[in-house]
Symmetry: C2
Subunit: 341 residues, 2 copies
């Protein structure tokens, strides 16, 4: 039995397709008895409207697209969760995709998604903003997520990476650390670059802390582990600041294997405050980004855009410094540390 159409329902309920459509779409102008008859037919036929046909007629898809640079780790999982919270609240669907960090591929995905969504949330922290050309003439409302560059045309939600990194570094300096090493994020990644800048800016403040050492990473745990080993081999620093929590986790492992105590021998800090960070041993000092919140807000912004609101704001979130045991003397800090959204 082929899947039921609106005509089958109309036939079963003894009404016209127009009436069925109205009944389904909660139009006011349907007699209660008629509506009941229709709805019961819908039920017994197990009828589900063909979304393609509907979107053809209404020019809406009731779907928002999400394009992410990656899918590894809790950062993206939290982001997706936040966005999903929003789509669910508004009865929308969520089409997910990611670009492997390749701007050209991102552009292609953007094109491919364009006809399937009403709006999209795009995160593409790459210097080459060429990909945005894939969504010209505002075919689909776009909200950018910490996508660097002067993306003037689109509402943008970004993180003040510089401020966050600056704060972390200052915190380390205040803790008396002078030889502070940095594990950088992927090259060409704007957020990573900003965090590096923040680190450097903080060091530049103090003439007695002009030691600077940067190990390249890629935001993944493994790269943090490798970077940690290289840093240790080059001479154990006083502190290590990893450009994100995932790398800090990897680095922590490297330090542990080297028999170094954290924070006793080396202080360690990360960035993002992903959920597991508070559960590490020692709990990780980090710059807390309200990840899920940002996702949710970005989605709400999409909705506003769909509603015709032309406000193109650029909201900038300043991460909160969350000091945990990985940079403080006391190893037993416990749960009473910074809050996350």
């Amino acid at each position: 039995m082929r899947t039921a159409t609106i005509r089958d329902v109309a036939r079963a309920a003894n009404v016209s397709v127009a009436t069925v459509s109205r009944a389904i779409n909660k139009s006011e102008t349907v007699a209660t008895t008629t509506r009941d008859r229709v709805l019961s037919a819908v039920g017994s036929l197990d009828y589900v409207p063909h979304s393609g046909a509907r979107s053809l007629a209404t020019r809406r898809t009731d779907t928002v697209g999400v394009l992410l640079p990656d899918l590894h780790g809790e950062f993206f999982s939290e982001l997706i969760r936040g966005i999903d919270l929003g789509t669910r609240a508004h009865g929308l669907h969520l089409l997910l995709s990611h670009s492997h960090g390749d701007p050209a591929e991102a552009a292609a995905m953007l094109r491919a998604m364009r006809s399937r969504v009403d709006a999209m949330v795009v995160m593409s922290p790459y210097a080459d903003a060429e990909m945005l050309s894939a969504a010209p003439n505002g075919a689909v409302p776009l909200v950018l997520l910490s996508s660097g560059g002067e993306a003037g045309a689109y509402p943008t939600f970004s993180i003040d990476n510089h401020a966050g990194a600056f704060a972390i570094t200052c915190h380390l300096l205040q803790g008396g650390h002078r030889r502070i090493a940095f594990i950088a994020g992927p090259e060409n990644n704007i957020e990573a670059a900003e965090r590096l800048r923040g680190y450097r800016a903080a060091l530049a403040q103090r003439s007695d802390a002009m030691f600077e050492q940067v190990a390249q990473g890629d935001f993944g745990e493994a790269s943090g582990f490798d970077a940690g080993r290289r840093l240790i081999a080059a001479g154990v620093p006083d502190a290590i600041f990893a450009a994100n929590d995932m790398m800090a986790i990897g680095c922590l492992q490297a330090l542990r294997e080297a028999g170094l105590d954290v924070p006793g021998d080396v202080a360690l800090a990360g960035f993002d405050d992903i959920p597991v960070s508070r559960f590490l041993d020692p709990p990780l000092t980090t710059a807390a980004v309200p990840i899920a919140d940002i996702g949710r807000q970005a989605l709400e912004c999409c909705i506003a855009l769909l509603g015709g609101s032309a406000s193109v704001d650029h909201r900038n979130f300043t991460p909160a410094l969350v000091v945990r045991a990985s940079t403080s003397g006391t190893r037993e800090e416990g749960k009473k540390d910074g809050q996350r959204s």
Copy 2:
């Protein structure tokens, strides 16, 4: 300027819409010169086919749906990643949704998704399998993910939770532990129930290990933390086996706060082998589930179903026992432990 349609392209390229369609869909029967003309028109008009119209005509959406019970933590993030790997490889889109763990809501989501996807991967580890009635007469091919019950009609990918939990518990027993406590997953969750059964079965093997203590959790970190505290308060056990890694992480934190050494005072084991588990201190002994792999394979199974393959297999993955420092004497085990996919 309204978004370009196939007619605009046809006009621009001086051909019929039929020809444009053929050119775009890589039909063989189009003269090279014609195709080029069309493609260039497509490019200059920035034309993207209306997916709704297309799916109306072809009866395909080129999209697969994924319905998950939750979105928290690395387990689901890995699962999504694996599935995404598959959709991407096959040029399909991925529609994501989750049901807050409510079977009734899951049924609703299933209905809502039905017309928007060609197939779906559904994970609903709840006893009430009522939700599956939402996808009757095979309207959409379904692949089940560790959804308990005798879901005979659908291909199913499951984890041998009983065997995994049994293996973990035996490992603890072999380590000399006798008072082994268990932190259970959500009630009504079939996977959680199986893990509990496995734990009990292993204990039943040994007459000298009839101590049994179960603390209720919900698979979340926080619940693991709370459960850990309760267990400690009730008298520190020799070992604690948490029904998943997330709860083990929370529990680890509780043990740490209580000043207990792991594995010195209490051995600790989890289940799943999410990526961070190896980076904990101590690295966590766990039952390794090839999460991303399962996701990927489930997706491939969807593809096979679409291709008409009627093979309804029920693949069952037996988790591999991965022994790390959280249950062994040596705290410095390092990276040379079990592999994950």
